[in-house]
Assembly symmetry: C2
Homo-oligomer: 105 residues x 2
């Protein structure tokens, strides 16, 4: 497999699975938006968006991965939680009319 | 908040958090690719990609949400696991040179 998306999560933050999923989704979307013009992106899509979700144990270890990616010339996006990546259910709107009764994962 | 992405996960499948994150990321990317030309998409991006990760208890309940979205004219993507959405670490390539030693989340 020539092209894949590695999603690296800090496991030391005590995030629940829903929070992790929201952050990983944010990272995947950021990676797609930043690389949609790349040749590798088309290959990645054609291969079914292969991705792997990995963990690190600290901010330092994540920074090390980021530095390594930059040094290797690999595209990399660093996501920091803005405290609103995963919003609460119950906002007004057409989506909530549909999903407002569902629980957070 | 006018525009958000609701990511609805079946909680009855016994998926681990890494698997859930990979599937939710797949769904978010599919939603972005399918809606990048929509006016709502630009608003969603400008608002910081607000998203919510919700759960349902069965395939039937998920199908109900999908039917409701279609009926409401909301864009919806249904993701089925192809068994390779989350690939194993250790494939050859430049990403693995960087992340091959990390564990799956």
């Amino acid at each position: 497999m020539a092209v894949k998306l590695a999603l690296v999560v800090r496991a030391d933050l005590g995030m629940g699975r829903g929070k992790i999923a929201a952050q990983v989704a944010h990272a995947a979307v950021a990676a797609v938006l930043a690389n949609a013009g790349n040749r590798d992106f088309a290959a990645w899509l054609a291969e079914g968006q292969p991705k792997v979700v990995l963990k690190v144990a600290s901010a330092e270890q994540l920074a090390e991965v980021v530095r390594g990616a930059v040094a290797a010339g690999l595209p990399v996006e660093l996501i920091r939680d803005a405290g609103r990546t995963q919003v609460e259910p119950g906002d007004s709107g057409r989506v909530d009319a549909l999903t407002g009764a569902l629980s957070l994962l």
